[in-house]
């Protein structure tokens, strides 16, 4: 019985393994290219890790190519050699100087060719600011909608529901015009402002607050706590699980976002977010830069992938949050 059962299951594994191979293929290519030398990438050899232990950085050699003065200066070091031989000897020295392990080459180039560290920092600044402001705006509103009585509450909630229909990417153009009119394009503000209001966050937190018992709030009021502090000291702690899921949802979306930064940041590299930086890299890359570019891609993609692998359940919860309405 059991054997038949496993036999019946093996065709499922076969299909799923084939599917997994296609899904993993680009990740495989990305990481593999970031480990190999340009030559091995070009010739498609070396397997996953590459087999060369050192490679020569052609650009580095070219930049330091010995000229007349260098040869003249090196004459006493190489006594008895003519100029061509000295040139060759110097070149050989430079080549050993410029050779390194392909991994070192790719990853150091990723950081030195473009200010990747700056891009990563920008990514962190933008995603964290967006999330913090979203919470500051959404939490009091969600609390008011769930627990306070006031005239117009129905109207506000209606607005929230209506605004859920509008994808921010779709109205990027008028938003861009508005920001341009007030002179805010090419600033951090432009990257952050359109996302400060998350109607989805308000909706989500309101649903969550509905389940918090009124007694908890009444007790806090009895203790003389103001409404402001009730939101931040009573409601916020109860909402941590929901907030965590929302944080994952928000951070993943904005770390990976390419469309909006592409529109409001033009040319000013200091404001580039990681995807913009990678795109720029692709724009002026030639063949020998496949390795460093893939190293950049790996560095950009890995933080979220690693976080996901460490806390899968939470991530799946967070990302599919929008499906749990």
């Amino acid at each position: 019985m059991n054997r038949i059962h496993y036999l019946g299951e093996s065709w499922k594994h076969l299909i799923l393994i084939l599917g997994s191979m296609i899904v993993i293929l680009p990740f495989y290519v990305m990481v593999s290219f970031s480990l190999k030398s340009p030559g091995q990438i070009e010739r498609n050899e070396g397997g996953f890790f590459g087999t060369e232990n050192s490679m020569v950085d052609e650009r580095c050699v070219k930049l330091r190519e010995p000229d007349r003065n260098a040869i003249a200066a090196a004459r006493d070091r190489f006594e008895g050699l003519d100029d061509t031989q000295i040139y060759r000897a110097l070149l050989a020295e430079i080549e050993t100087d410029c050779s390194m392990h392909p991994i070192v080459y790719n990853y150091s180039k990723a950081f030195s060719e473009a200010p990747l560290l700056r891009y990563l920092m920008n990514g962190v600044i933008v995603t964290v600011s967006i999330f913090v402001i979203q919470v500051i705006v959404a939490l009091p509103c969600a609390y008011a909608l769930a627990k306070l009585r006031f005239r117009g509450r129905g109207f506000v909630f209606g607005m929230v529901i209506f605004c859920l229909l509008i994808p921010v990417h779709a109205i990027a153009l008028p938003l861009y015009i508005m920001l341009a009119k007030v002179g805010l394009t090419n600033t951090y503000a432009a990257l952050i402002i359109p996302w400060t209001i998350s109607v989805f966050g308000i909706f989500l937190m309101r649903q969550f607050f509905m389940t918090v018992p009124d007694d908890l709030i009444d007790a806090a009021r009895m203790d003389g706590m103001s409404e402001f502090w009730i939101v931040w000291k009573v409601m916020l702690p109860t909402a941590i699980p929901a907030l965590l899921a929302f944080a994952i949802f928000s951070v993943v979306a904005h770390w990976n976002d390419y469309f909006w930064p592409r529109i409001v940041v033009t040319g000013n590299r200091d404001l580039f977010t990681p995807p913009l930086g990678l795109r720029e890299f692709k724009g002026d890359a030639d063949g020998s830069f496949f390795g460093p570019m893939m190293a950049t891609a790996t560095i950009i993609v890995m933080p979220l992938i690693v976080a996901f692998l460490l806390a899968q359940r939470r991530f799946i919860e967070g990302i599919t949050l929008s499906g749990m309405k």
């Binding site: 299951e9 799923l16 680009p26 290519v29 506000v156 153009l173 993943v252 993609v301 799946i316 990302i319």
Partner: protein, 318 residues
């Protein structure tokens, strides 16, 4: 009891931001779509419905609608079916399911722009691994399987794989007008189906076991019968949601297009979001960009209302 004004204080920031960031832009777009505004000009001329007429009549925009609609009509059904299929397979496994789930979800987490660039490398004609694998498969059992020649009445040498193997030439994918949109669709499906799978897995766990057992006792012996009579109807709400969100997202496809094809070759991948970007941001033709924005919002509204209608009808019946 809290003072009544607290409610206003707490909702005022959110309400203000909603008005400025979400509602006002829609009105601005609607207004500008009737003008020939461009950034830097002090004023704009009222051109009536000219922009919309252009959208309807010019062949560029017809290609735009064709590309967008084909993209949505391919990516949505395929990624939903694959998501459902993967969920059903994974759910029926006795071991290993979690591993596949993790793998299929990876593309959802990765920055699409980065992965698009990686796909470009994988599909590259000289360093690309995809064409190399196709080539390596020629003349082996792989060709025999995938030229479908083993199916009766199919001539293996005339199928796609068979012909390409015979000529030793494989497509340039993103540079070929006949393949570019299909390739972009493929990347879209690759990225989206894991998300759908996870939603379906959640939907599957909410189907009560007793219901399946009852169906079995009532004569639904085969897996297909149980799927048709119990699982599929029970997954209805999930399906409605999955289809809606995938449609809205597919309409918004941009990253892959901008990084890989820029709408080409010969406008075959000129989707709406890219058209807005190219016309308005790059060429400073705000009027036409605004008109496309409004049409775009129209599509999104239609999809969402269809979802609401379907959801409500279901609630009514059950």
């Amino acid at each position: 009891m809290a003072p009544r004004s607290t409610g206003y204080w707490f909702t005022a920031p959110a309400l203000t931001l909603m008005a400025i960031i979400l509602l006002l832009p829609v009105l601005i777009a609607a207004g500008l779509s009737f003008t020939d505004y461009s950034l830097g000009n002090q004023s704009a001329n009222w051109v009536g419905a000219e922009n919309y007429e252009k959208i309807v009549s010019r062949s560029t925009y017809q290609k735009m609608f064709t590309a967008s609609i084909i993209y949505v009509l391919v990516v949505v059904p395929v990624s939903v079916v694959l998501g459902l299929g993967a969920a059903l397979l994974i759910n029926s496994l006795s071991f290993g399911g979690d591993l596949y789930k993790t793998i299929f979800f990876l593309p959802v987490m990765a920055a699409l722009l980065a992965m698009a660039i990686v796909w470009e490398f994988a599909l590259h004609n000289s360093v690309g691994i995809v064409n190399e694998m196709f080539q390596a498969g020629c003349g082996t059992i792989i060709e025999w399987v995938f030229n479908w020649g083993w199916i009766p009445f199919v001539d293996g040498s005339q199928t796609w794989y068979g012909r390409n193997c015979a000529s030793q030439e494989f497509p340039l994918w993103l540079r070929d007008r006949n393949y570019a949109l299909a390739t972009i669709c493929f990347i879209g499906i690759w990225q989206a189906f894991g998300f759908n799978m996870v939603l379906y897995l959640a939907g599957l766990t909410s189907i009560p076991r007793e219901l399946l057992q009852a169906a079995e006792m009532d004569g639904a012996k085969s897996a297909w019968e149980r799927f048709r009579l119990v699982i599929w109807p029970m997954l209805g709400p999930t399906t409605v949601f999955v289809v809606t969100i995938t449609s809205i997202r597919s309409f918004q496809v941009f990253d892959t297009i901008e990084a890989l094809t820029q709408g080409g070759p010969s406008k075959s991948t000129y989707v709406m979001m890219y058209a807005i970007y190219e016309k308005a941001i790059q060429q400073n033709l705000m009027g036409i960009g605004a008109a496309i924005t409004i049409v775009f919002l129209g599509f999104v509204l239609v999809i969402t209302f269809m979802q609401r209608y379907l959801v409500e009808r279901r609630v009514h019946y059950s």
